[in-house]
């Protein structure tokens, strides 16, 4: 409960501090302090030292998994604010910095509901609290037509999906008479769950709408346009922390409900994984803009995250936590560099290593982590995901295909590294401060440390 209350409060605090000061670096440090408080409050809750007790009538239940996910997401947001916080102030006319931070805190409020919901009502509210601020952030650059377009597209797609989600919820309510997400009882004589047609239809609709939000193929088509059109600072936030939150909600929702669909559940998920990996990776190969390539790569990474949904065991849960940490750190790092570039195309990166060696090195580490090269965090993240699928059994073919696609992904990630180190060019960047470089090096160090000792992230889950 601490996380939900404190994040909402911090959003209000940020809005008021926008009245008191327009100084962007002050606002950035207020936001960073708020995030530190939020992490502390959430940790106290997880350790059961101090937590605000609210009787939620079973609508929300806090467990170790959800609380630990909150900690990882808040920490990633802190890294994001420290790295890219000053660029948030440059979006649009630059007058609304405090409001953007406030919206980020409201997104975090939705995130902490999604990591702890215990009924379909809270799932719906969490998704909406998460999405509505994002529509605004996507359109933050008011005079930019691309931003407008992305915002309208995201909004129309998002509210359309909400309609589908609600229809699913209504059908499930009609069949069962409750909004609970617990697994229905198994009938002893058949060994299966007795589910009516309405309940199955409702679950399929829920699955479709969650796949929409998580940008899994074949419901991914809005993702590249929205990620490309949104201001880069906010794309970085949307593609990492928000996406991970949707996956946590996805897993929470279906860990009990998957039995209703019976054996067809695995077929459905493996089809979606296959389509997501195929479309994400193959399309990313042909992109000339690095920002658009990262949008497609985020679809491809979603394919790997879906393995946690497929396996549904504890190894998968550990994996999704590690994946969240590894993927968020790497993508936030790359986007922080990308925002500083004058030209977002691949040619824009030509010769970056000669001009800005630190930036080029950190981008290399981040890209290697995304590709899953050993000694970076991304390797163990992918390993846990695939290991959980092997443990769950029955899908060795899918694991093999995933490894092939991981190899394909190396091609388009390494094209950027090749451009930076082995091409001649005048890669132009905005002025880089030394504080920014130090933060980037810390991010790279964290990625490598997690790659050597993944228990650094995971031990917090158990102790």
């Amino acid at each position: 409960m601490n996380a939900i209350i404190f994040s909402a409060l911090m959003g209000v605090v940020m809005m008021f501090s926008g009245i008191l000061t327009q100084n962007k670096s002050v606002l950035k440090y207020i936001a960073a302090t708020g995030l530190l408080l939020l992490i502390a409050a959430n940790l106290l809750n997880a350790e059961a030292v101090f937590s605000i007790k609210v009787n939620t009538h079973g609508l929300i239940s806090f467990d170790r998994f959800g609380l630990y996910f909150n900690t990882i997401a808040f920490t990633a947001t802190l890294v994001y604010v420290l790295l890219s916080g000053s660029d948030i102030g440059k979006v649009g006319s630059g007058l609304y910095t405090a409001d953007f931070f406030a919206l980020i805190f409201f997104v975090l409020c939705g995130l902490s509901i999604l990591s702890s919901f215990n009924g379909l009502l809270m799932l719906f509210l969490g998704i909406e609290i998460l999405s509505i601020p994002l529509y605004i952030l996507t359109g933050a650059d008011k005079r930019n037509l691309k931003s407008n377009e992305a915002s309208l597209k995201y909004f129309l797609m998002g509210s359309f999906t909400t309609g589908i989600l609600l229809m699913g919820i209504a059908l499930i309510y009609g069949a069962t008479g409750s909004f609970a997400i617990q697994a229905p009882p198994i009938v002893p004589s058949t060994g299966m769950v007795r589910a009516s047609f309405l309940e199955v239809a409702g679950l399929i609709l829920l699955f479709v709408s969650m796949a929409f939000k998580a940008s899994a193929a074949p419901f991914h088509f809005w993702t590249p346009d929205v990620y490309d059109g949104a201001p880069s600072v906010f794309t970085s936030f949307m593609a990492t922390i928000v996406k991970a939150a949707v996956f946590i909600a996805f897993i929470r929702l279906f860990q009990g409900q998957a039995v209703v669909l019976g054996p067809s559940w695995k077929i459905l998920v493996s089809f979606v994984i296959l389509a997501t990996l195929l479309i994400g990776n193959v399309t990313a190969v042909f992109q000339q803009s690095v920002k658009r390539m990262l949008a497609y790569s985020s679809i491809a990474q979603a394919g790997f995250m879906l393995f946690a949904l497929f396996s549904g065991n504890d190894l998968g849960k550990e994996g999704i936590l590690l994946y969240t940490a590894a993927y968020s750190l790497a993508t936030i790092g790359i986007f922080a560099v990308l925002i500083k570039m004058n030209d977002y195309t691949l040619e824009g990166f030509n010769g970056l290593a000669a001009r800005q060696p630190v930036l080029a090195f950190v981008t290399t580490v981040c890209l290697m982590s995304l590709a899953g090269i050993p000694l970076t965090a991304g390797f163990f993240a992918k390993y846990y995901m695939l290991a959980s699928a092997v443990k769950a059994g029955g899908a060795l073919w899918l694991v093999v295909i995933a490894i092939v696609f991981a190899a394909i992904s190396v091609y388009y990630y390494f094209r950027v590294i090749q451009a930076m180190y082995f091409r001649e060019g005048e890669a132009g960047t905005a002025p880089i401060s030394s504080g920014f470089k130090i933060m980037l090096i810390i991010v790279a160090a964290l990625i490598i440390l997690t790659g050597i000792w993944p228990s650094l992230v995971l031990s917090g889950f158990y102790f």
Partner: protein, 111 residues
């Protein structure tokens, strides 16, 4: 009335909404179709709520079964209102820049 009538009515409204979203080109009308989808769900939830309440009331007259369905409707209304405010703001922002609310405009990002 049997519950099937309500289900068919709601599914019809919902489908009209979906078809509208997929075929119309005016952003405001697309948006109205989304609202139609949400209201179809509201109607369905109220109907189911009444059905569950009726079934439980034959056993225990003072039952509160079915209340949660009606509560959900209020939440949907509130969230829909919040969505309307943000959505209309986005449409107005776009109208100021291009003096049109035609969503065929949304194809520029592809190139």
């Amino acid at each position: 009335m049997p519950i099937q009538y309500y289900i068919f009515l709601c599914l019809t409204l919902f489908s009209i909404g979906i078809i509208g979203v997929l075929t119309r080109r005016n952003a405001i009308i697309v948006f109205m179709c989304v609202e139609l989808m949400l209201n179809a769900v509201n109607l369905l939830l109220v109907a189911f709520s009444k059905m569950h309440h009726g079934a439980a009331a034959t056993v225990d007259a003072a039952t509160t079964a079915g209340i949660d369905g009606q509560l959900f409707v209020f939440f949907i209304m509130v969230v829909a209102a919040a969505e309307v405010s943000v959505g209309l703001a986005i449409i107005v922002m776009m109208f100021r820049n291009i003096h049109s609310v035609d969503i065929n405009f949304l194809n520029r990002l592809k190139n």
